[in-house]
Amino acid sequence: MDLIANLFANLATGFSVALTPANIGFCFMGALIGTLVGVLPGIAPITTIAILLPFTFTLPPSSSLIMLAGIFYGAQYGGSTTAILVNVPGESSSIVTCLDGHQMAKKGRAGPALAIAAIASFVAGTIATIVIATASAPMTWLALKFNAAEYFSLMVLGLTGSVVLAHGAPEKAVAMVLVGLLLGLVGIDVNSGSPRMTMDLMDLGDGIGFVPIAIGMFGIAELAVTLGKPQDRSLLAVKLRDLWPSWAEIRQCIPAMLRGTTLGSVLGVLPGGGAALSSFAAYALEKKMSKNPERFGRGAIEGVAAPEAANNAGAQTSFIPLLTLGIPGNAIMALMVGAMMIQGIQPGPQVMINQPDLFWGVITSMWLGNAMLVVLNLPLIGVWVALLRVPFRLLFPAIVLFCCIGTYTANNTVFDIWVMLVFSGLGVFFYKVGAEPAPFVLGFVLGPLMEENFRRAMYISRGSSMTFVERPISAFLLLLTVALFVVLVLPAIRAKREEVF
């Protein structure tokens, strides 16, 4: 009972801060800016937050954090809009949304896809707020238990599960994961400091950028493939009532949303890598739980709801290590630490004790912000869908232009635009040979993390590979990997051989 009483007391403290007219305003502004930034591919929320940082110096600490947080989750949501409409993912989490979201759009169901993305994000945001309010302590403990060995085992599990992502031949998916893994290793090796496979190009020092790869392989390649086909736009002539998902569809999505939220909440807490997995994991899980998994990749609505929920829940729980330990889980959180320090707040466990109004104010503002995102975005769906009716000859050059601008602004370098072009060509090639880009990108994102943590764990254990099975969480994850392999992958490989796709 105490726990619940505490929870309500804490939330009340929070709402008393978040619901002041000024803070409602800042929360709305953050969510709005975030949505706009998210919709434009490649314009990263991190750049936006950095640009706005000096403006927040004059605000009270709670208002500034509320607004910056709003930009962050607003962008998470805005990113899925572009992913669904034009197949351009702005960050790794929206790639999964592309898979079924864009397929739905192609079938004239962009409206329901956008609506379910908003609803799933809101449901996940609501639950994640309660999770942060009640379970910060155990989540913090978990984040601290994850060391190099555990991260390695988690990545092995993630990559094994990624085979489920593909709906073609599993052999091709495995091959794509491996190619992605290989390209992910380009750049300066963290463990030795020496450049690998950079061809003496300084621009490749930090590896091949994620944004140019994702935009090239998904966005531009998709356009090229579409142009190669006879144009059939009858599907896009949607009627207004088709803008919303049916009740049956929403009901169908509820378990998917809940599972996605759970996965996302847990993985989001892990700094440095966990969050990248959450939407992939949620999608893979839904596909495996589904009675007819063959619908996935062809416009299954759960395939949009689950990863969107996971992504949003993860975005929110990634604030836990920041607020309770002062440890930033990703680059955006690191920027938040900067924002807090400039306000004279030392991030860490004392924030919750010394400044409960700030801590709970920010948490409750997240829920408020998510509600605003729904209000903001549901009416916009009609506008977005109407955008699809713009003739191809106008729409395509505009998309290419935005892709180029987005790719350029991510790192302010022209080199990345060339990288994007190369990967557009590669994307078309992969399409022609029937290999899918999603497992490739997952390998690209997770591979370097897996390698880095493997070598670090081996170094810290001074060369004993037993470290992976001696540490309980790592051993559990590896066991899960074996189970997954036996249960899912082996029969899948055998069965899929016989099916013709």
Binding site: I43, I46, T47, T48, I49, A50, I51, L53, P54, F57, A143, L144, K145, F146, N147, A148, I188, V190, N191, S192, G193, S194, P195, D200, M202, D203, G205, D206, P271, G272, L325, G326, I327, P328, A331, I332, A334, L335, V337, G338, M341, I342, G344, Q346, P347, G348, P349, Q350, N411, N412, T413, E452, R456, Y459, I460, R462
Partner: protein
């Protein structure tokens, strides 16, 4: 966003017109000034650039744009500035990593820090905090040396990367006291702090900015502070100098530089404006909050500082035979 920048620029230009003519300087700024940060947003250099940017814009009557060009330990951004037009309108703000250690570690650099960049002024110095995870049963340097002797290979230093100043510091200290600790590189200082707070590694040398809160709140146990002055927030921690430790002056610092061939009068004007801004009380306060203190210099002093830093770390690199090619 571009529109916003332009609008901001116009507003600032307009305010300059309204609030009186600019003082007559021999060197004037004729267009927008770019400050290049060769790291991703959120780092110390980035935050300093964004604090100083608006003030510089006010001072010179032109918009100032902060641009991040992260890649290759800051070398891509530095190369960009080295090759920019020599008119003093492109500035680089970066740290000891790009300016002092990379030239020693990477032989194939496409530019020469000392020849292709013109020093403008130092900005800030931030000492390193030397700390351990609370589970390590030591409270002083002597206890740590004894513990490492009794448990060789049990300690690991988390650093911000191979060849970083943190990494070289750990090597020099290990050599001086015969320590057997391992050195574990991470992707940047924040990741190293995370690793030591979660006890994946257990020793850290890191900028006071990022490390102090953890020591104050007991998530890390402080051992010493680099430099010769104790930190106000941790008055009980002895300095490297008091303990007779090597490389007393280790720590992180930032400076402004511009392109080769910039007229000395332009560099002098930039130096004057930047030092005026850095002397403002609110800027000094912000720097203190960032864990360091303002440290400015004349362009010549900065050039001398660079020569010394590159030489000192070069000696360490040579003795240890580290190369990143």
């Amino acid at each position: 966003m571009l529109a916003r920048r332009t609008a901001l620029g116009c507003a600032l230009a307009l305010s300059a017109l309204v609030f009186g003519p600019l003082p007559a300087f021999s060197q004037n700024f004729t267009k927008q000034v770019h400050i290049i940060v060769p790291y991703a947003p959120g780092g110390t250099s980035d935050i300093i650039a964004r604090i100083i940017g608006p003030k510089l814009s006010e001072a010179i009557g032109q918009p100032v744009i902060v641009e991040n060009k992260p890649s290759s330990s800051g070398n891509v951004g530095a190369d960009f500035v080295a090759k920019a037009a020599p008119d003093g309108h492109t500035l680089l703000i970066t740290d000891a990593g790009t300016l002092a250690t990379q030239p020693n570690l990477v032989k194939k650099l496409s530019f020469d820090v000392q020849k292709d960049l013109v020093p403008v002024t130092l900005v800030m110095f931030s000492p390193y905090l030397f700390a351990v995870h609370p589970s390590v049963p030591v409270a002083t340097l002597q206890e740590l040396i004894a513990y490492d002797k009794a448990n060789p290979g049990k300690l690991n230093v988390g650093t911000s990367g191979v060849g970083s100043i943190q990494h070289l510091t750990a090597i020099v200290i290990a050599k001086k006291y015969g320590l057997k600790w391992g050195i574990v590189p991470y992707r940047g200082g924040a990741a190293a702090v995370r690793a030591v707070v979660s006890n994946e590694s257990n020793v850290i040398f890191n900028g006071a900015l990022a490390t102090q809160p953890f020591v104050v709140q007991g998530q890390l146990k402080g051992i010493a502070v680099s430099g010769d002055a104790r930190l106000p927030a941790t008055p009980n921690l002895p300095t490297f100098k008091e303990l007779g430790m090597p490389i007393v002056e280790t720590g992180s610092w930032q400076g402004f530089l511009t392109s080769k061939g910039t007229p000395p009068a332009m560099t002098a004007r930039l130096n004057t404006e930047l030092r005026k801004i850095l002397a403002m009380p609110d800027i000094e306060k912000k720097m203190a909050e960032l864990g360091g203190y303002v440290k400015t210099s004349t362009p010549d002093e900065f050039a001398g500082w660079l020569t010394k830093a590159i030489g000192d770390w070069g000696d360490v690199v040579k003795v240890e035979n580290i190369s990143l090619d």
